[in-house]
Subunit: 149 residues, 2 copies
């Protein structure tokens, strides 16, 4: 039987959020949180609009999912995020005890793996899902940004 | 001339915030952000009340100070926080480019130094200001918590 709810399906939803960010002039990163094939949080980077370095897509998604669940632990949940999380977001994911983190593009410079940030020992990680789509959107953003200034 | 606005003065203000958290049944950590001897943000841990692992004192203080300043960078600011920041909060401080972080008690287990989290190269760090006061409050909290359960 075909399962339509695979990692690619959900990463596409995160990419839609990243596109939202793009259209708002934000660094295009999107995130969703899923439990039992149900999306319980959708968010995109809003650091420019909110003037707030903490407004990464992942941080908002964690807050939103906790609010939905009525509890601060995200056991049983998966985050889909278009870019590898940074130290801050990986640190928040650590505290959340989320079961799975799936990301798209790798962030060689500021990603949590390069920076040595620890996730919770219970958290599984998978990278590279729709990596090209996520990184092309980021590249397009920075090229347009450069041409505008 | 005596300068009343030294690190101990401001750490006392952060400790008052930690006491607020204590009375609310939250892990007692408080933070303030200061620019030119003026307090522009005060906060304390609210992870239980908000059911949100991202609601650490430092995260709220960063959001609040950015809001006050109308910009996301905290250059020229000092954060006073009663406990050594964790990975998440140090990661947020990294993005904020804050000029100085002064903390009270050391967190040997989850503190950013043990965890290897990087602050911004421009950020100065000083630990141990009113360390005993901060750690005694934390110890008292965990002892009372244990006796209640």
């Amino acid at each position: 039987m075909i399962n339509p709810y695979d990692d690619t399906y959900f990463m596409k939803k995160a990419l839609q959020e990243a596109e939202e960010a793009f259209h708002k002039g934000e660094v295009p990163v999107g995130a969703i949180i899923v439990i039992k094939n149900k999306i319980i949080a959708r968010s995109h980077n809003l650091t420019e609009l909110l003037n707030d370095v903490t407004a990464h897509a992942e941080m908002q998604a964690i807050t939103s999912a906790s609010n939905f669940l009525g509890g601060k632990y995200l056991t049983g949940c998966t985050m889909y995020v278009t870019l590898e999380p940074c130290q801050m977001c990986a640190g928040a994911l650590f505290w959340s005890q989320i079961s799975r983190v799936v990301f798209g593009a790798t962030d060689e410079k500021r990603g949590f793996r390069t920076m040595g940030t620890k996730l919770h020992p219970k958290t599984e990680v998978l990278g590279g899902i729709l990596e090209n789509e996520a990184s092309n959107l980021l590249k397009r953003f920075f090229i347009e940004k450069r041409n505008l200034n």
